[in-house]
Subunit: 421 residues, 2 copies
């Protein structure tokens, strides 16, 4: 079953908004066996929207998902255009009007006439109520195509999609089985990895498994995909090949299925009952942010001392002022003292520290932009490692955080396996 | 001049990768007066890519930008398909091969045959060299369309685009003038804002200025656009209307032209020579991360104490243990002590603190998920404010940070204007 996504909005085409909805929808539809064949982004103009809808119907896409252009302001024209295309008109829906009024009441906000107008909906569509906002979803049928329109605000679109649309799709389409598995690598480049696993990759052909490499700063994802009739046999063969891959490259794999490194850390620390703190210079709080983006992180994350200024490294972490002077802030000596300092002050089992030249300025010949020291402190030892990353500030912060979390993962796993042995 | 972007890659359609390239390209092309008419994302299969290219040529787009599918691994087929479509073949380019070899040498990495193959390029294209990676850009001409193919890795694509493509476009096309201005709001909802500025919005029609509202968590952007022949007159009328808007809503506007709130803070603190620290509970280091994502932030940001655990609030920030017990961590008393505590310990002019229930668990009837206290401490006073945000953890963290930064902005601006008066 092939689907088309149409996103509507000048803000996407002039690059002011990144289209995150399509990726989210693509992912969710894949899980239930619907493949996205194309994504089309068009301007919020009547002719552009009509042309996209005609394309969808002519190409006989069984499912067409539209997002965007349903807000209360004047640049939102999707509802009007849908009425024209599906030859219908708006009518006030009393139930939805009540919902909108109570939405504003619950938030103690005044309701405006433009808000009330969002309850005026096309006569010949199925309404998909929005429990998180005021723009309803709408579902039309034409020439064997199902056309669904949802608001562009990601939060609201996701609510309508999961609560209303998914059950509708499951009961209306006979869906095939599709199975993906993604293996997550940190600390190895795409082409180097591909070379290392060449023979294994060849062996996927015989099993009709598709492979894709998806690199991002610090992380390479390898995705395996199989499609067929029986989910069980797809899972069996994909999982078997994934296990073979894990056995080939254990050091660089931190998880599966789009798990984030911070979620892997969360599992390991939750299971072992260990705690963590961070002392961050060049990452500026980003590692603490990643750790605390995981729900329930208060179980193992106690806190962080972001020591951007040298005096904070001295006063709050106990780094030796003479070492700061002699070796500089970006040095093995300082980064190790930062890790032991935060570990003892915040009384945690483990601590991560970072110190580096994030850029774009501040580099020297000996310590250029992208030069970073990372340390991990535990009860038993302090380990540290230097890295040379890139010229871009955001990428350096990201790659430092990823490398630090992977160093921590390996250290905790090593210590846990030693203590078991 | 209308352009089409085609992004190639299954990873986009199954939602594993968010297409950030198109937004970036759309933004950059707009700056030089080229409008993106559509964005089309297709699978990395020969038939899908050929179909997209035929669509582009049939629709007579003068400019077509392709990204993706140029990597060294087997799932990257764009180069092969372009050869077929443009009826040409690959030939080894000695100059590019040298570049690739020196790229690996400089990084101390072994070069593989698949890397060398990236120097095999179509005979009848203009090569756009890649100074940040190994996949070259390629520029073809057919039936009055210019077709440009670039790698999908954002970092490398951006390098080729800015260094090679932009000069090429400027010398090959006669470009119209287009002018955008974006005004950034924090602390007011989209429809409430639209109602407040209704009359002003009406007046834009007479000047042929287009308006769009772009909401995201905590921030609403209002974008004004004018197109014509003379840049000067476009700038004059758009800037005049923007000034009128600023005069209408001064409290909620923190900047212009997609400036980030943390960049506004950076300007204000740099100009005034003031320093800042943060004490973060529910934001978990995210405010420190935002502040340090701005280059040069070490001029005014000294550090942060992320106090997730109550004992860290007590020991590292000096929060009273009886207040923690009597009022709870999410209270006016505690958040104010956090702000004054970090301000005195890190010796900064200003301090921000946050304490709240980020969710999804931890909420109570009195303090539900999304309930947050924020404080700002200065030499003169401590101000604090409570908020009720949403149910989603990531959105609560984001909105808390945005609100805190805007509170800081207003406080610093107030104190600076008082000290001048």
């Amino acid at each position: 079953l092939k689907a088309l996504i149409i996103t509507i909005g000048d803000e996407i085409l002039i690059g002011q908004t990144i289209d995150t909805n399509s990726a989210w929808i693509g992912n969710k539809l894949n899980e239930i066996g619907i493949e996205i064949d194309q994504i089309l982004s068009v301007r919020d103009r009547e002719d552009a929207i009509i042309e996209a809808l005609e394309f969808a119907i002519n190409k006989r896409f069984p499912l067409v998902i539209l997002t965007g252009g349903l807000g209360p302001t004047k640049d939102d024209i999707t509802k009007k255009v849908l009425c024209k295309f599906f030859d219908t008109s708006l009518e006030m829906n009393a139930e939805i009007l009540l919902k909108i009024e109570s939405y504003f009441k619950a938030r103690g906000r005044d309701i405006l006439d433009t808000n009330r107008q969002q309850a005026a909906l096309p006569k010949n569509c199925v309404i998909l109520p929005n429990n998180l906002g005021t723009a309803s979803g709408m579902l039309f049928e034409k020439d064997n195509s199902m056309v669904v329109s949802m608001p562009g605000v990601p939060y609201e679109m996701k609510g309508i999609f999961e609560e209303q649309l998914i059950p509708h799709l499951k009961s209306n389409f006979d869906l095939p089985a599709i199975y993906h598995k993604t293996i997550m690598f940190e600390g190895i480049g795409e082409s180097f990895l591909a070379e290392k696993i060449k023979d294994w990759e060849e062996s996927l052909n015989a099993e009709a498994i598709k492979i894709a490499y998806l690199p991002s700063p610090g992380v390479v994802k390898v995705r395996l995909t199989a499609m067929g009739n029986k989910m069980e046999s797809l899972q069996e063969k994909v999982n078997r090949k994934a296990k073979e891959l894990s056995a080939l490259m254990p050091k660089f794999i931190f998880g599966e299925d789009d798990i984030k490194l911070e979620e892997t850390i969360s599992e390991i620390l939750n299971n072992s009952g260990k705690t963590i703190s961070t002392a961050e210079s060049c990452t500026g709080g980003y590692i603490a942010h990643l750790l605390t983006s995981v729900a329930g992180s208060s179980n193992y994350f106690k806190g962080s001392i972001v020591s951007y200024a040298n005096e904070v490294k001295e006063n709050q972490l106990g780094v030796s002022s003479s070492d700061l002077e002699n070796f500089g802030a970006v040095s093995k000596e300082v980064v190790e003292q930062m890790a032991t300092g935060v570990r003892s002050r915040l009384k945690t089992d483990y601590a991560i520290s970072t110190s580096g030249v994030a850029g774009p300025t501040g580099g020297t010949e000996v310590k250029p932009v992208g030069f970073v020291w990372i340390a991990i402190a535990s009860k038993h030892q302090v380990i540290s490692k230097k890295f040379q990353f890139e010229k871009d500030r955001a990428r350096n912060i990201r790659r430092t955080a990823m490398s630090a979390l992977n160093m921590l993962r390996r250290e905790v796993e090593n210590e846990l396996s030693l203590s078991k042995a």
